[in-house]
């Protein structure tokens, strides 16, 4: 049985596909393939790629480390004001990243609320360092881990945890052997989403950590800087990001591209 689709739908859907795919196709067409090697070198591609991977993967790990316990509290505890807490935690998703960057500066910058103390006590400065870029990226990525993990936790029948405790498991053992394994797919989904967001992060990073080649200049920042001086190099850097993004899509294939 084939369902008949009206012609206008085909036309509009086709326009949508063209609109979304044209920029990517254009990148490939406009890339100065003849001097690819010198362009990539001139744009500092390998440095930016390395930094992007270091920052995005570290930020993903930090997001999991902090986000999973947070999701646990949100899903399982009965603390008052839980919905307010959830709103605060997921705020970075809706907040313009540049606002996040300004906020991070006000909090952790050298003259910031906490940053001042960090600097005077430990001589620790986060702005314009790779750790600064990692923190800015974590700020925007962690909420995605929280949301995915909380949804996963809510979908797990709590009777499994009760069964585990009735069978002699301490809460900690029950989390390790029963809940986390059952949460595996959602944890993976949250991690990949956070990683994707971390790779594309721009606003908070450039505001808080600056745009320093070799220490805070990730791929998106490098694209931004080279787009005027070296348009060809910017295109190649962009294509690297496209390839990484496709890799994310492949990792997520069951979740995003195959809606059921």
């Amino acid at each position: 049985m084939r369902s008949r689709t009206p012609l206008p739908l085909w036309i509009l859907a086709g326009a949508g596909v063209v609109f979304v795919s044209l920029p990517v196709v254009a990148l490939v067409l406009r890339a100065p393939w003849d001097d690819i090697a010198s362009s990539l070198r001139g744009a500092g591609a390998s440095e930016a790629l390395r930094l992007s991977l270091v920052v995005s993967l570290t930020a993903t790990a930090l997001s999991l480390l902090l986000g999973v316990p947070l999701a646990w509290i949100l899903a399982r505890s009965r603390i008052p004001g839980r919905s307010v807490l959830r709103a605060i935690v997921v705020l970075p998703i809706v907040l313009p990243p540049v606002v996040g960057g300004i906020g991070l500066l006000a909090a952790l910058g050298r003259g910031g609320v906490v940053g001042q103390w960090l600097y005077s006590t430990f001589g620790l400065q986060l702005t314009f360092t790779t750790w600064g870029a990692i923190l800015a990226t974590t700020f925007v990525s962690m909420p995605l881990v929280v949301l995915a993990t909380e949804a996963g936790l809510r979908s797990i029948d709590r009777r499994y945890e009760q069964a585990a405790s009735a069978l002699g498991a301490s809460p900690r053992y029950s989390i390790r052997r029963v809940v986390l394994p059952m949460l595996g797919p959602q944890l993976a989904a949250g991690a990949v989403l956070a990683w994707a967001r971390a790779l594309s992060e721009f606003g908070a990073t450039i505001t808080f950590a600056g745009n320093l080649a070799g220490s805070t200049q990730t791929l998106p920042l490098a694209v931004y800087e080279t787009r005027l001086s070296d348009p060809g190099g910017a295109i190649f850097l962009s294509l690297i990001l496209v390839v990484l993004s496709v890799a994310v899509l492949v990792a997520m294939r069951d979740r995003i591209t195959q809606a059921r």
Partner: protein, 366 residues
């Protein structure tokens, strides 16, 4: 020794208030309809629900203040609740590992238990690849793994195929007989309670309405509810096929004609049940299609002015339920003679070792 529980527990506005005493080696069935409070009692015993007041003692030691993981209880849950990401072996080893038994020893003991209770199950299989009956066997092994002093079996047949139930019943009977501690069997199927337990406690609306041996309760149900629930006629014996698809079930005290619905081998053991309401009483020898016709003396008439349960000294003994009006109209009285009849198809059969059984064989009672 055994379990001594006298507890009040509340869930929302629902409250259970029960006293349970089960000796070591004894099996008590807690029988009641859905909503009677069975799972609330289970949660209170295992500690996932706090007591409002009361005592739970196992082998003389108070456990009601202990968190669930420190109570010496083995639980076989309704819906098995095997951990989906662990293999059968890991599931059975779980209570041991949780109690810090070294891995190798935990696995050895788990393997032995699986071998004994679920030999058809691949130890490395995940629960999702097992049948309901296999999962319940693994769950039973998991409950026994930590050598508990109280065994709680929460409707262990609920997810088991009708065809796999007789085997599972046999297994549960064997396990509870060899288990040295107290066993509490939660049941909503009267046949489970009556055939597996040493004593039965009827739970209704959070309270125990009657406690006694299966025979005592069947013979003298204390309420309509009890009568409906457990006042069934039970026959245990061997089947002899008749030519026409029917069969004779020979008990030690008389025989009845049944309709197995499947081919049976002569000598197959079977448990049959018959609701009293399906037994008709007649002043004269009845004419008609009923294949089971008996004549006997009335032993007892329990008449509450609405319905009457009439116990007969037929072979096998029968209990019939008729209206009080019929008792008067037919002039039934204790010591008098009466005819009783019922149809072969009214008898529910549990055939041991059968691949399939009658659809109605799964649940009895109400």
């Amino acid at each position: 020794m055994g379990l001594h529980a006298d507890l009040v527990a509340r869930r929302g506005s629902f409250q259970v208030d029960v006293a349970l005493d089960v000796d070591g080696g004894e099996t008590l069935a807690l029988l009641g309809p859905n909503g009677a409070g069975k799972s609330t009692v289970v949660d209170a015993l295992i500690g996932t629900l706090e007591l409002t007041q009361g005592v739970i003692a196992i082998d003389g030691e108070r456990v009601d203040a202990l968190p669930p993981e420190q109570r010496p209880i083995g639980v076989c849950f309704q819906d098995d609740l095997l951990f989906p990401r662990l293999s059968a072996l890991e599931n059975v080893a779980f209570p041991l590992r949780a109690r810090k038994v070294p891995k190798a020893e935990a696995r050895r003991r788990a393997r032995a238990l699986l071998q004994r209770l679920a030999s058809a199950v691949d130890p490395s299989a995940r629960p999702s690849s097992m049948s309901g009956g296999e999962r319940q066997r693994v769950a039973l092994a998991r409950a026994l793994a930590p050598d508990p002093r109280l065994l709680v079996l929460d409707e262990p047949f609920s997810n088991v195929d009708v065809s796999a139930r007789p085997g599972m019943r046999t297994l549960v009977r064997e396990v509870t007989r060899t288990f040295g501690g107290a066993t509490v069997l939660i049941a909503h199927d009267p046949l489970d309670a009556l055939t597996l337990a040493d004593r039965v406690a009827l739970l209704d609306a959070g309270r125990i309405t009657q406690t006694g041996t299966p025979d005592e309760i069947r013979a003298a149900p204390a309420s309509h509810y009890a009568a409906d629930l457990v006042g069934v006629n039970l026959f245990v014996g061997e089947l002899r096929p008749l030519g026409d698809g029917a069969a004779t079930l020979r008990t030690t005290d008389g025989a009845i004609t049944v309709s197995p619905g499947v081919a049976v081998v002569s000598g197959t053991r079977s448990i049959a049940s018959l609701k009293p309401i399906d037994v008709s009483l007649h002043a004269r020898e009845p004419e008609g299609s009923a294949r089971n016709v008996f004549r006997g003396q009335i032993v007892e008439i329990a008449d509450d002015g609405d319905r009457a349960r009439v116990r007969l000294a037929t072979r096998p003994p029968l209990t019939a339920e008729v209206t009080s009006g019929s008792v008067a109209r037919m002039g039934l009285r204790t010591g008098g003679e009466v005819w009783a009849s019922f149809k072969a198809v009214e008898v529910s059969l549990q055939i041991e070792g059968a691949d399939s059984a009658q659809p109605q064989a799964g649940t009895l009672g109400r």
